[in-house]
Structure formats: C-alpha cells, structure tokens
C-alpha cells in the first residue's frame, strides 16, 4: 500500500492505495467520484478523461500513485455555482444522448480550448480523436465545442 495526497475537485484526500490501482478506480471507488465512467480497458475511449494539474489525462492510463501531489478536476468539479460554458453548450447543442461519453468529452474539450481557444471544426474533430461517442455521430459535439469557444470558455 502506498500513501498518496491528491486534491480532487478542490478537496484534499489522503489515502492508502494498492500500487497497481488505476486513478479512475481510485476516483470512483475510494473518493466516490462516480461521475467519471469507464468505457474500455485499452485507453481508447476517453470516457474517463479528467484534468490533472490542468491537462487532460485518461484516468485509466494513470496509476493512482502517479497522481500523488496533483490537482485533479473531474466533471463533478466543472460547474462552479453555474454550469461551465462547455456543460451549457453540450446541453444547448444536444451534444449528448446516453451521456456516457459526455464527462470525458467535456473534460477533453476543455483542455482542447485551453490550448486552442478558437479551433476550426477540423481542429475540434482532431482534438477529440481520443474520445469515442457511439450515440451522437459527433456533429453536435463539434457544434457544442464551437459554441463554447465562441462564448470564450478559455477566458
């Protein structure tokens, strides 16, 4: 067992974890952040995407011990009193159906807009390549990210 200190959505946690425990399992099972789902076991789907010190990571591809000393933001930490502009844009553009990919999409999109506040549609599509959605055909996800960008999400 290893001891780790992690800040998740603004709250400090100190825990003992098995060295092999994945960050996503730590978040879901130890911290109780079930807003971050798991869609695969090969780091292909992006459903588990969170921000680690501001950068998007697939939390199934990171060990909990590697998150020691970092700040993690999950979908549950995005709304700050009001919905985050990306959350609002996903709602308004109907960018989700079943919603299983949505937490990861929103987290990946927030990192995308941080790096490139005014992406073209092609840049959005390429930037979200690591996040799979089986329901929407992506069209409305692209629209939502574009809308959030226009609303100035990165500012």
């Amino acid at each position: 067992m290893a001891e780790i200190t992690v800040t998740v959505d603004g709250v400090n946690y100190e825990d003992h974890v098995e060295p092999r425990m994945l960050l996503v399992h730590y978040l879901r099972e130890i911290v109780g952040k079930t807003g971050t789902p798991i869609g695969c076991d090969t780091s292909n789907c992006g459903a588990c995407t969170v921000l680690m010190d501001g950068q998007s990571v697939k939390s199934c591809a990171v060990l909990a011990v590697q998150a020691d000393g970092t700040q993690i933001t999950t979908i549950e930490g995005m709304a700050n009193g009001a919905l985050h502009p990306l959350q609002r844009a996903f709602h308004e553009e109907h960018a989700l159906q079943c919603g299983y990919c949505t937490p990861g999409m929103i987290m990946a999109a927030s990192d995308l807009l941080r790096e490139n506040p005014h992406p073209t549609d092609t840049e959005i599509r390429e930037g979200l390549e690591g996040n799979l959605c089986r329901c929407t055909g992506y069209e409305n996800i692209v629209r939502a990210v574009r809308r959030a960008a226009q609303a100035g999400v990165s500012e």
Binding site: E18, R20, M21, R28, K33, T34, G35, T36, P37, I38, G39, C40, D41, T42, N44, C45, A47, T74, I75, E76, M78, A79, L83, Q87, F90, H91, E92, H94, L96, Q97, C98, G99, Y100, C101, T102, P103, I106, D121, T122, I124, R125, E126, L128, E129, G130, N131, L132, C133, R134, C135, T136, G137, Y138, E139, N140, I141, V142
Partner: protein, 826 residues
C-alpha cells in the same frame, strides 16, 4: 371551492418544438446513475473465467483453490448451477421445426465460443475476484471449430451441436417466380456480404443483484427491464412478484442490451446462494467477446427485370450466422429482414429463404436496424447494378420501380401495407440539398481527365418497418410476446403530472419528448411533468425500447391515457361547475361550459378537487389517473433519400466522404432537435459498417477485435458533417409519427458503398466487400487494372477465408481486398 377561473391563453403547442432535454441536467454534471455506480452494503464482486477455446469439451473443473485465495467468498463452476440455471431464452422460434439448443448460462460440459463463461469467483472487491481466477483449474479437450457458415452445412463439417449446424430454414414466397424469371431480358445475380459487427455501446454491461428475504432486486444496464423480469422468472423459477428489475441510466444499447444475458441470470443465482448483494461489470474486451454481435449474413440475390428496368422478380437466399446459440431474438433478426427486401419497389414475384446456421462464435442478435439494414443494403446495392445494366442513372431506375405517392396505401409483394410515403418528394429535396447534377458533372470531368481522385455518388432510397409491432403480426411470426406499450398518467394534487412509460429509455430523450406530448394533450406546462421509467416497481407493465417503437407505440399509449384522464376530469368538472357533463367543452388544460367559456376549471383545479374528494358527483371515483395500453394495428414506415459523395483516391484506396445528405420522412416530429440527433448517430453507425467496423475471428475462433484498439469505432475525425432535411407524410396513427431510431443506420451503409463503387465503375469494379478499408479498395483497383497474378491469387484466397480478414488497428491494414466482378446479364 372556486368554479370560476381566468381564461388563459392556450399555450403554444409543444409538438414540433426543439425543447432542450430534461435528462441532460444529471448527464452533464456527472450525477448520472450508471449501474456500475451502485454500491450496496456488503456487496460482493463477481469475476468470470471464460473459455479460451472456440469449441471444446470440458473434462474437469476445479475451483477449490480459488476459494482459498484472499478475499474470496465463493467460487463456482457450471456444475454448481446445473440444477437451477435453466437455459437462456430464445423468444422467437421462427419455424415449427427450428433447432433451439440448450444454452446454460454457465457451460457445464461443452464450450462453443471463445468467451463462454465456465467458472466464476465471488470476492470482496473486483481486484480480488479477478486475481483468484488464476487459481481455477480447467481441462479441455479441444473440438474442431466451425467458423464459416458457407461450409457449415456440408456433410463433412464438424458440428456445433449434436443436432447439426442448421437451426432453421425459413421460406416465404409471393407471386409466380417462374414466370417472372422465364425469358426475362435482364437477370442479375449477386452475392453480398454483411460482415459481423460489434454493437459496442459506450457503457459496458453491468449487473447488481440484491436478495432480501426472498425478494430480488436486479439493477442492470438493459434496454428491457420488463421483458427481463418475465424471462428471469421463467428461467430461474423465482416467482415474478418477487423480482424487481431496474434499468437505471443506461449508456446506449443499439440492440445489444435487448438481451437476457448469462451474467444477469448468474448474478441472481449467486445472490440467492450467498444472501448478499453482488455486482458484475464487464471490461470492454470481455464485452466485445460476449455481448451479442450483429449482422453476419451471406446474401445471394437474383433479380429479373424487363428491358425498361421494371423489376419482375426478386429471389433472396440468405445464410445467417446465428453463432453458437440462439439468444433472445437471434433467429428472428434476419427473418424480420424478409419483409424489407422489396423495399419501396413494386414487383410481380418475390421469394425469400433464410437458413440460420450455427457456428462457434458469439451469438448474433439485434443490432440497430436488426435485419432491415441487411435487406436494405442488398436491394439498394442491387438497384444500382440494375441501373448500370441499363445505362440509367441510379435515381432514374429507382423511380421507374418505386411506389408512386398517389398509390398509398400500398401492399407490397412481401405483404406489408405501407400507409404513407412520398419518395418523389424526399428525392427531389435530397437532390437539391446535395447539388446532384453539379456533382455528376464534376464526376464526368474527373473521369475524363483521369484524376487520381475519383468522385462517386451513392444513392439509398430506403424504407423500413418500425413501431414494433402489432401483436397479432408478431403472433403470426411465432414471436414470444406482444408488441403493445403501456402508459400511466398520475395527476398529483398540486397540479403536477407524473407520466409512467413502459418504454425504457437509454439516451433517446423520452423524459423530454414524452413531456411534450403530455403537455399538449393535458394542457399542462412542460416543466410540470415528470416522466418515470425503467423500474418494474414504478412502471409495472411495458415492452421496452427497441425497433424504433417508443414513439409510434409508447407515444400513442400516452395519448390514449391522456384521453382517459380528460374524460374522467370531465365528470368531476361537471360537479364543480354544477352543469351537466354533456355541456362541457375541452380545450387543452381546461373544461369549460359550452357557450360560456369564462365558466370553467383547469385540470390542476380538478386534480386538487379530486384529491380532496369532498364534493364529487355520486358514483364518481376520486381519481382522474389513467392507464392505457396501445397495440398498433400496423407497423410504421419511415423512408427517405440519402445521397453520399465520396472521393476515392485510386492511388491509395483512401475513401473520403465529401458530403452526405439525409432527407428523412418520419412523419410528424415531436422534437426536431432530438430527431436530428438520432439521424446523426444512426448515420455514424451505418457509415462505420461501410468503412470501418468488422468483428474478426482468427482460424482458431479467437476474436481478434476484442479491444477498441482493434475494433474501429469511428472517432470525430473519421466522420463527415451531415446535411439533414425532412419531408413529412404523416403516419396513419393519431400523432402521425413513425420512428427515427434506426433510419440513419439502415439508409447510410448502402449509400456509402454505392458511392465508392460508383467512383470505381470505370475500372469495371462492381463491388467492394465491407468494410471498405483503403487496402481493400486499393487491391480491388489493382486487380481490376489487370493486376498481377499474385494479387489475383491473394484475392481468391481472401474470398476463401473471409472470416479471418477485415479491419485492423488504426494505421495498420493487414486485411485483404476483394473485388467482385462476377455475375452478369443473362
């Protein structure tokens, strides 16, 4: 109690409004209730050990060592369940002499596909359960696999089941085929391949079961909580009244969660054995192997036509891969397609044969479209071939054969009566949005200039049957249940409304669309309505969600229940207003005295008066709640014209979709935003079949595409942007609605493949086997160019061992190409 209310302006109709979805609030904030989120006190975790062999006899199983592993509570083999596990149900015996082999949830003496469960461990956490699997000892005696259904019916083939490899032989014929084919000026013969697909909903399956005092609650990521409850009761013998099934938020289904699974049954049995709650959540690789697959047919087609292109007859001969067992509706899926091969076309005669064949692979079953995409693909590919034969534009040959808009209602040669449609209108609109004529000119220019990037235009003028289904028709097809749907309206004392639907949503937006329908019917605000579903205790009756049935059937049940509420409210309003019920007039939301509209009561006031029940007329029960069950008397028939332009790089084989126009006629629209989303998602899945996806087994029967690294679900950068449009021929039901869940998937696959083949016609190519990967396209071009002997030989080989080829991880393409140039004119 007041009997006077202000006359309120009737609210704007909800039907047709792009209401934002109610369900989003929890989905965008991470507050969703997925099955895998559930944690019950004392809950244990199950891990399954699965067969590494496609076909083998189990000679011994020893789980005792696993029981000694840390944190392990129990370990079981199939023998431990033998007395109680029964057989997983098949509800669709399509012929009287169909072979339905026993299908124990956990294998006891023989395994028939890689991934079949053979033992399990129950432990304190999922890690401990997974670790302990290694301590289980199993001996197998390998048996020969059966991997190609084209040879599985040969005498010499090894057998999947003792009874042989043929499950059923379904025949349907209408009209005189001999006359149709005799002396026909044109006879086309083609063989098409519908590759095997993995539905791959983003949420993996997950099951939680608790057993308290003999009462079971099962949470499952399922599309069918109601059907599942009945089936679990029948399989396990647990009295139905002691079983509650809950489908919490479900992360997509596409047919894959229309199933009664081994893991669900075993979770119930284990919870019963241990008296403790248990959970199982699959990994993606486990899911790719063991969630039922879709499609997988070989389609042999013959079409006879007159010299002007008029179709005389169509003969369809299918081999459909059932996989190792028949699951819930496995045999019915290709048979459902039987009614769709004639599609929108008139013809004198039609014959359909489908043989369901066993193999040592994961069973197939419903996947978005279920039988209809397969049929639509075949006929729409064939119509292009017929056009080429006659030198006619693909739209022209279709128009010569399709049912004219003034001919509706029209009974097709397959026996379906299409209530409405207008193929001319949808096609005209699609052509305009697409810029058809200009693209044809560009195609011609590129052909003439020998451009290495050729342009192809693909057409799909599809229809489908949905709104499953009239119970009588299902009965005549030997389906094991009805096709009705249930709705309940509960009028709360504060004027708010609870709507209970038997249609269990998993991404379709029922909570929003159902609110819109009820708001219009009862004249209550959209915001005041709450829709409940997916829990057999809350919603005791239902047939669930599949086959694009929710709106056309479940929506109609809502309307009928609302009618009853309004009628019951009338009697109470009459008492409140002290007039005769016959003198009242309903405008949505309010009963008022005819000729004196100021004198009236709102539905909310009536609800409160009903709750108090102080002054109800004699003999009137103190409730205006109502239930209704709707059984449709026909299917609904969405249709549309989809046009796809592809740029095919003849040097690399790379296919780029340049534009895609989908004009759909799905009747009246409840929520255009949701409709458009369904079309987009459907298109993506149909395009994925055309270009990317295939479940591939190797020569030993191992699933090669068991991860999302190998099974290519397209990402945002792999797909185009879509142009959507609509025409509207209302269906014959009161809402005028048809259904839209599967249309995009059914229509798009042939549109894309037709476009690719159209681009390559000048090379003499008339087919590319799906998925049309760059390598397959490139090889087809090479072979057509006269190619070298080696590539021709490779192709031949590829055709012999089709099931081992296919898609591959991004960037690597070891699949083999296949150009079909056989078949022709008689």
């Amino acid at each position: 109690m007041t009997a006077q209310t202000e006359v309120v302006q009737a609210p704007a109709p909800e039907l047709g409004r792009a209401r934002l979805r109610k369900e989003d609030a929890r989905l965008i904030t991470g507050q969703t209730n997925w099955t895998d989120n559930i944690r019950l006190p004392g809950m244990l975790h199950i891990a399954f050990l699965r067969s590494p062999f496609a076909h083998a006899r189990i000679t011994s199983v020893d789980v005792s060592a696993a029981r000694d592993e840390p944190g392990v509570i129990a370990a079981y083999s199939g023998a431990d369940f033998a007395a109680e596990q029964g057989s997983l149900p098949c509800a669709w015996p399509v012929t009287p002499d169909i072979v339905i082999p026993a299908h124990p949830p956990m294998a006891t003496d023989e395994v028939r596909y890689v991934g079949e469960a053979v033992a399990c461990v129950v432990a304190r956490d999922r890690y401990a359960a997974a670790d302990a699997l290694a301590a289980i000892e199993i001996d197998y005696e390998p048996l020969p696999p059966v991997l190609d259904i084209r040879t599985a019916l040969d005498e010499s083939s090894p057998k999947v089941h003792e009874a042989g490899n043929l499950s059923y032989d379904f025949l349907f014929a209408q009209g005189d085929m001999d006359t149709a084919f005799h002396d026909a000026p044109i006879v086309l013969e083609r063989t098409y391949r519908q590759q095997r697909l993995i539905p791959a909903a983003m949420e993996p399956r997950s099951v939680v079961c608790s057993c308290v005092g003999g009462e079971f609650t099962l949470w499952s990521a399922t599309q069918i909580p109601h059907v599942l409850r009945v089936m679990l009761a029948l399989v396990t013998g647990i009295p139905e009244q002691n079983l509650r099934v809950i489908a919490p938020d479900v992360g997509g289904g596409f047919g894959s969660k229309l199933q009664v699974t081994a893991e669900e049954v075993l979770a119930v049995l284990i919870a019963r054995k241990l008296g403790r709650p248990v959970k199982w959540t699959e990994s993606r690789s486990e899911g790719n192997m063991t969630v039922h697959h879709g499609r997988d047919q070989w389609q042999q087609l013959r079409l006879a036509a007159d010299a002007d292109g008029r179709i005389r007859g169509l003969e369809v001969d299918l081999l459909a891969d059932m996989g190792a067992y028949l699951m819930l509706v496995t045999p019915g899926v290709p048979v459902l397609g039987a009614f769709m091969f004639p599609a929108i076309y008139k013809m004198d005669a039609y014959s359909f044969r489908c043989r369901g064949v066993f193999s040592t692979k994961m069973p197939t079953d419903a996947y978005r479209g279920a039988g209809r995409p397969e049929a639509t693909f075949a006929i729409e590919r064939l119509m292009d071939e017929l056009g080429v034969e006659l030198g006619l534009d693909p739209l022209e040959i279709r128009e010569r054969n399709w049912i004219k808009h003034e001919e509706f209602p029209f009974t097709t040669v397959a026996g379906l009566t299409y209530d409405s449609g207008n193929y001319e209108a949808a096609t005209a609109k699609a052509k305009e949005l697409f810029g058809y004529d200009a693209l044809r000119r560009e195609q011609q220019e590129r052909r003439e200039s020998g451009d290495p990037v050729q342009l192809g235009l693909g057409v799909s003028t599809f229809t489908e049957m949905c709104g499953l289904a009239p119970s009588r028709v299902l009965g005549s097809l030997a389906y094991g249940a009805g096709g009705w749907e249930q709705a309940s309206i509960r009028m709360l004392p504060t004027g708010k409304v609870e709507v209970v639907t038997g249609s269990s949503a998993h991404g379709q937006g029922h909570e929003t669309a159902w609110s819109q329908i009820v708001a219009d019917q009862l004249g209550v605000p959209f915001e005041d309505i709450r829709v409940l579903h997916g829990d057999t205790q809350v919603s005791p009756r239902g047939m669930d969600t599949y086959g694009s049935r929710s709106l056309a059937v479940g929506g109609m049940a809502l309307v009928m229940a609302c009618d009853k509420v309004v009628e019951k409210a009338r009697a109470i309003a009459a008492g409140m207003l002290e007039v005769s019920a016959a003198d009242l007039e309903w405008t949505p939301g309010r009963w008022a005295v005819r000729g004196d509209p100021d004198k009236g009561v709102t539905i909310a006031e009536i609800a409160l008066a009903t709750f108090a029940a102080h002054a109800l007329p004699d003999g009137v029960e103190p409730s205006i709640d109502a239930d209704a069950t709707y059984d449709p008397d026909n299917f609904s028939f969405p249709h549309g014209t989809h046009l796809c332009a592809t740029e095919v790089d003849t040097e690399t084989g790379f296919v780029k979709i340049r534009s895609y126009v989908a004009v759909d006629d799905i009747g009246k629209i409840v929520n255009p935003m949701i409709v458009e989303g369904q079309v987009h998602g459907g298109l993506a899945q149909g395009i994925a079949q055309a270009l990317y996806e295939e479940a591939v087994y190797d020569d030993d029967g191992n699933l090669v595409t068991s991860t999302l690294a190998d099974y290519l679900i397209p990402s945002a950068s792999d797909l185009p942007s879509y142009v959507t449009g609509r025409t509207e021929s209302p269906a014959a039901n009161r809402l005028g609605v048809k259904g839209v869940g599967e249309a995009g998937t059914i229509a798009s696959t042939p549109a894309v493949v037709n476009a690719i083949v159209d681009a390559l016609r000048p090379f003499g190519i008339n087919d590319i086997t799906m998925p049309c990967t760059p390598e397959r396209v490139w090889r087809a071009i090479q072979a057509a160019r006269g190619g070298d002997q080696a590539s021709a030989a490779e192709q031949h080989e590829a055709r012999q061992s089709d099931q081992t080829q296919g898609n591959s991880p991004r960037g690597v393409t070891p699949g083999s190409g296949e150009a079909q140039q056989t078949g022709g004119t008689a």
